[in-house]
Amino acid sequence: MDSLPEMLSMLLDGAVDVLDISEDLREAAVTAYEEVGAWLADHGNPGSQVYPQGSFLLGTVVRPATPGGEYDIDLVLWLLLARESITQNELKERIGILLDDYRKWKSDQGHADGPHSLESRRRCWTLGYQGFHLDVLPVIPDDEHPPTGILLTDENLFRWQHSDPIGYAAWFRARSEITRRLVEKRHASVADVPTWRTRTPLQRVVQILKWHCMITFAADLDNRPPSILLTTLAGRAYDGEPDLFTAVRGVLDNMTQYVERRNDKWWVPNPAHEEENFTDKWNDYPERRKAFYRWYDQITATMNDLASMEGKGLDAVYSRLAETFDREPVTKSYLRYAAEMNKQQLRMGTTGLLTASASSTGRRIREHTFHGHLPRD
């Protein structure tokens, strides 16, 4: 670790990794929704599809800070129906019946892995599983925006709204990949380009913004900026920076310039669908816009503080991180770092800096064990 930003990136990456969905749970969720999709297709709904949208599809999941900390996984249940053939209310009811039938079928088959609950929410149905929920949003094709455009109901089950989660995910992936192109330009050989274990820097940036936002608005959910807004602004502002901490600061420097004014309205368009405005609510509830900027100022101040902590002590950095984020993931990240330093062959640089990388120029350190007793002189 040669610089403070690298060190902070490592600590933040380790902390947010604790909040990310585990591989086992991710697989369990995929298995669960694929089965729902297959069952629907086999039971009189030809052409129906079930697929993830939102953070699960984008790879930006953060464990909610609720008791139990169950992950919400957003799904789209797509029925091949014409817009004129069904009302919003009928669509929601119809999908409720289908999901209830699926649940009964699972239970009749004696399967223990089926959903333990089915609840109605405003626009979607929620299937409960061990460790996660599947929020199933009923949608139909949007003929005006083929092939991935969809129509979904508004919160009052009154109007159709346009959306395109697959198009959005393609946009987000392309924004994530600008890192690779940039890094490839900096390295002479493609073999030197780092591969990110599970998440790209942009995915991690989004997770950090969401995490901070979730904590800031824990007691004020109505005013919490939606994840899709943070994700969109971050994706727009991200310039390909591979170092996580530097990327977070760069995104914070630039993200607010993507909030537009269109016909006297606040406007952040869905990059996959110009007609969808992610700041629509700001026009009706000005306090939500204020809340967003309050949060933005807070996270910017935190990151500026962290950037100025060179030489202040690992423990002081820990306190600053734990005070802003949760103690538990930050502590786990430090423990992981300590374990990593124990495993590595270390070298020492000209200021006493310990580095683990084989390519660093420092002197190799001989092995030893810290002793607890005074050896005989």
């Binding site: 124990n342 000209t350 002189d377």
Partner: protein, 139 residues
Amino acid sequence: MVTSRAINLGLQLAAIKSALPETQGTVHGGVLRCTAVLQPTPASRRYTARLTYRHRRVPRVAIIDPPLALHPGATSLPHVYSNGDLCLYLPGQWKESMLLVDTILPWTSQWLLYYELWLITGHWMGSGHDHPADTGSLK
């Protein structure tokens, strides 16, 4: 029997100054005394360590600046002798034929890393025995 020879003190100091250019030191009357500034990680403080060494004695290291703190709930520092010197290695791991700059000084930097982590967790996460602080357990 082959015994490896003790390294000359002047050479020891020259090696230290070459690897850690900020080091101040002297060899006088058969005693090497130096102070080195060590910062184990970019986030860590810059510590001044004082090293005292004469042939056929163990090298002694103490941190003279900034003053070392205690984890809340701990009554003493881990891996420190009662006189304040750091316990850096097991008997036999250091020999006079080794350079201090490849052993005692980097071990001190490592000690400082684990000391700062100990301030957070109350556990010694480096090698050697853990000395858990009374209330430092982690969830």
